[in-house]
């Protein structure tokens, strides 16, 4: 299917509510419709055309156009098309129909739209706060233009802890906000009967830092890659690449071939160190510290290599809009080939040992299953999707950088949907990453690594870029603005989509499997941010408020 054909179908569905459309390239379709047609077109894209919901966002355009811009992004993976659906909401009637009843995976994106720009979602089944903290005031919306980035509104006097109540007969066991297996604060409220999990609620965004806001108010185009890199503690380069690609697409900047290859190699190196880290963490979660220590020992040479090439172990600082800042020397290339060769040897030995280990299999097989149907409804991505038989990979479906030329790239898909399947997908992807790096380094073209940009980037241009991060699809959408900075920058990390599967995944399994279930989606809360197990039969649980604990005296609603 071509983008033109998709546009024709949208036009037919929207009828007189179609406002305008643009197709700057065969893989990008930007359509603006009236909000009356939103549900119909959404149903067309999701159900009829089998599209995948990616993310949504709200932009405050009241100063320029007297409206809010609500956007929803869809992917048609088999056809390499992204459809960005815009709808303009008048500022005096800031209500938009919710698409979550149609697409469960849109739940969080819509709640975030409300939290950031204050537009009401009509018909949303669960309109609780998502990214704002419980004591943030009700009527202060951070992404509105009249809201300064450094405002410090007063705390709410009696914040609600808006968690779901435990079902009858079950208890709550809180996993988080601080818990041994979580490296970052998150709150999984797990409902159990004995050891059996009967439900789960999630409260996250404890590490929400307002990066999108500060980029659009204080930083410039070329400062943002450095903050983008700090969105995540593991996959920073993915974000800086994706942001630069989005701006480059918006402004029509072609980066040199050599820069594409350099970005590709660094992306795959990042995938290697991320998957090795994850394998160790997964081992630690199930009490197998030997796996943790050995995989992290194998990982160290990669970190030293990154430091030799870029000056840093993880935050490479390599990207600018227009290309990369550092080149690969011949010694660096030789060193890289040697390091990944050593890793490949040890990794193959590990891969051979894992399926045969009976105790490991007992802990990982048939646990926390995600069915393909659930995956489609919740719009998952990355190894979480591929472990359930959903064969999507941005490097193949929507090729970028050097991936179009590289033949070593192949999708790794498993069918079972359990923790073991997701584990094996990541383990085998590691070997594919090694092949890709080797092929890219052997074929890297000569030439410049940076395309100089001589003119200011005009405002009002849209760019969308996606990358297959170690955890799945990362999306950056940029709307260029004045003063050498974007008007709006929307980031969606893959864990944002994948975290929504946790309740479905852990229900029906035991409490012991919850940590490895959460771990198996390889959650990156920093990327996302922006569980309690309650057992009803034991009696009451008193939760002390922060004020009570610090002696200030006011009280929260208990439970």
């Amino acid at each position: 299917m071509t983008a033109k054909q998709v546009l024709d179908q949208i036009t037919e569905e929207a009828g007189r509510h179609l406002v305008d459309s643009r197709m700057p390239r065969p893989s990008r379709l930007y359509v603006t419709i009236g909000r009356e047609a939103l549900r119909g077109v959404t149903e067309l894209l999701f159900r009829k055309l089998g599209g995948r919901y990616v993310v949504g966002g709200g932009t405050d355009l009241r100063e320029d156009e007297g409206c809010y811009l609500i956007s929803h992004i869809f992917a048609l993976d088999p056809d390499d098309i992204y459809v960005v659906l815009h709808t303009r909401i008048p500022e005096d009637d800031a209500v938009v129909p919710s698409i979550t009843p149609l697409i469960p995976g849109a739940n969080w994106a819509e709640r975030e739209i409300h939290d950031t720009v204050g537009v009401e979602l009509l018909g949303h089944p669960d309109p609780r706060r998502l990214i704002l903290s419980d004591d943030w005031p009700e009527d202060v919306f951070p992404m509105r233009v009249d809201q300064p980035h450094d405002a410090q509104p007063p705390y709410l006097a009696n914040p609600k802890q808006d968690m779901k109540p435990a079902p009858d007969g079950s208890h709550v066991v809180p996993i988080g906000p601080f818990f041994p297996v979580l490296e970052e604060p998150a709150h999984f409220r797990v409902f159990v009967e004995g050891e059996m999990v009967v439900g789960c609620d999630y409260r996250g965004f404890y590490s929400h830092r307002g990066i999108e806001k500060i980029a659009c108010t204080e930083l410039t185009y070329n400062q943002i890659p450095f903050i983008a890199e700090r969105i995540c503690g593991i996959c920073g380069f993915v974000h800086s690449c994706c942001y630069c690609m989005a701006v480059e697409e918006a402004a029509g900047i072609e980066i040199p071939e050599r820069a594409r290859y350099i970005r590709t190699v660094m992306l795959e190196l990042e995938r290697l160190h991320s998957h090795l880290l994850w394998t160790g963490i997964a081992g630690h979660i199930i009490g197998f510290d030997t796996l943790l220590m050995q995989t992290w020992r194998m990982r160290e040479p990669l970190m030293w290599l990154a430091e030799e090439i870029t000056g840093n172990r993880k935050t490479y600082g390599m990207n600018l809009v227009g290309g990369v800042r550092r080149d690969f020397t011949d010694e660096a290339i030789e060193k890289t080939l040697k390091v990944i060769g050593d890793l490949e040897r040890e990794w193959k030995a590990l891969l051979a040992a894992i399926p045969g280990d009976a105790t490991l299999a007992a802990r990982l097989r048939d646990m926390c299953v995600l069915t393909p149907e659930e995956g489609v409804e919740l719009c998952v991505t990355g190894p979480t999707a591929r472990g359930s038989g959903l064969a999507m990979d941005v490097r193949v479906d929507h090729p970028y950088m050097a991936y179009r030329d590289l033949k070593s790239m192949r999708k790794i898909v498993a069918r079972e949907g359990d923790v073991m399947a997701r584990t094996m997908v990541r383990l085998e992807e590691t070997l594919v990453a090694v092949d890709i790096i080797r092929e890219a380094l052997e074929n890297i073209p000569e030439g410049p690594i940076f395309a100089e940009i001589r003119e200011e980037i005009p405002p009002g241009l849209e760019g969308l870029a996606t990358i297959e991060a170690p955890r799945g699809e990362v999306v950056h959408w940029v709307l260029t603005g004045e003063e050498n900075r974007p008007r709006r920058w929307r980031v969606r990390a893959p864990t944002y989509a994948n975290l929504q599967t946790i309740p479905a995944m852990v229900t029906g399994d035991t409490l012991a499997d919850v940590p490895i279930g959460i771990g198996s989606i390889d959650p990156c809360f920093s990327c996302t941010e922006r569980l309690e197990v309650v057992d009803a039969s034991s009696g009451r649980v008193r939760i002390y408020s922060a004020d009570e604990l610090t002696g200030r005296g006011s009280s929260l609603n208990a439970q």
Binding site: V172, G283, G287, F288, T290, M293, Q294, R297, T359, A362
Partner: protein
């Protein structure tokens, strides 16, 4: 010799001596297991005296109690006291003029008391994690008690006595029996569960339950429980060697050397069996452990049936 021959004061002193030996050596055993684990991890690991330092540091910290309940105050004390007392009952000299050992049934009672106090500590801590940990500990106890008691009883039935010295002495005098061999196999298979190490450290599973029954303990209370946990490999391996393999101690020509050789063998057994298995496996879930423990209990029951029915 037995308690009756010694008189109560001498028996008490012998038991106390055993308790002190166990208390003094347990952290060293733990330190060696940690060192082995570190080497398997390709890392240096802490010094083998680290557990002594850990306990010393905990003892000087504040004992922050989550509730004024006397159960929470007594739980760790009873745990350690019961474990040490149980350990003190095991003879360091199975036979000969220095042989003193306790009663197998008292031993089993003391172990049950120890586990019971862990469970009570967990329940009294009122944390959701400690409560789940306590419930898991209950399941694990229910799984291992039968095997432990039955394997001891098999030897007791064969020996015609419940005293440890007689259990050891019987095999030295009469040679071994098939039922005893099978009981020994059951005991060895249960060893990893009895010492609560990976894959069976399920009650305390750090990544699942923070600290299990010990989650809310701090300072001296935690130190007592840690020491009690450290004694487990020592006690259960020592019991195995003295009851099922008494020839080891008996083979040593000099009496003063016997306990040293036996303890060295205990250390070796713990390193090669408990330590290696601990480092090379992930943790099992409680329901998976139950399946394993049931299978081992069946072996113990078979040994018992044979011991009871076969002519002596």
């Amino acid at each position: 010799m037995s308690g009756e021959q010694l008189g109560p004061w001498a028996a008490a002193l012998w038991t106390l001596a055993g308790m002190l030996v166990i208390a003094a050596l347990a952290p060293l055993m733990e330190g060696l297991i940690r060192k082995l684990r570190a080497r398997i991890h390709s890392r240096q690991g802490p010094p083998i005296t680290q557990p002594y330092l850990d306990l010393a540091k905990l003892l000087i910290k504040e004992d922050l109690r989550v509730s004024p309940s006397v159960l929470l105050r007594m739980g760790p004390l009873v745990f350690l006291a019961a474990m040490l007392l149980a350990g003190g009952l095991i003879p360091l000299w199975p036979t000969g003029e220095h042989a003193y050992g306790g009663d197998a049934i008292v031993f089993a009672y003391l172990l049950a008391l120890a586990t019971g106090s862990v469970i009570i500590t967990g329940l009294a801590s009122r944390s959701p994690f400690s409560v789940v940990g306590a419930s898991r500990e209950t399941v694990m106890m229910a799984g291992t008690e039968p095997t432990l008691v039955l394997s001891l009883l098999v030897v007791a039935v064969n020996a015609g006595s419940l005293r440890f010295t007689d259990l050891a002495g019987f095999q030295l005098a009469a040679g071994t029996e098939l039922s005893v061999i099978v009981a020994a196999v059951a005991y060895v298979l249960a060893l990893q569960v009895l010492v609560a190490r990976i894959p069976f450290d399920i009650a305390e599973a750090e990544t699942e339950l923070m600290g299990g029954p010990f989650t809310e303990l701090s300072g001296p209370s935690l130190a007592l429980c840690k020491l009690a946990m450290y004694t487990k490999p020592l006690i259960f391996s020592l019991l195995f060697l003295q009851v099922f393999l008494p020839w080891l101690g008996a083979a040593v020509p000099w009496a003063w050397l016997q306990p040293i050789v036996v303890l060295a063998a205990v250390f070796l057994l713990n390193l090669l069996a408990v330590g290696v298995i601990d480092a090379l496996n992930p943790r099992l879930r409680v329901d998976q452990a139950v399946g394993y423990m049931a299978a081992v209990a069946v072996i113990a029951i078979t040994a018992m049936a044979y011991a009871a029915l076969a002519p002596h």
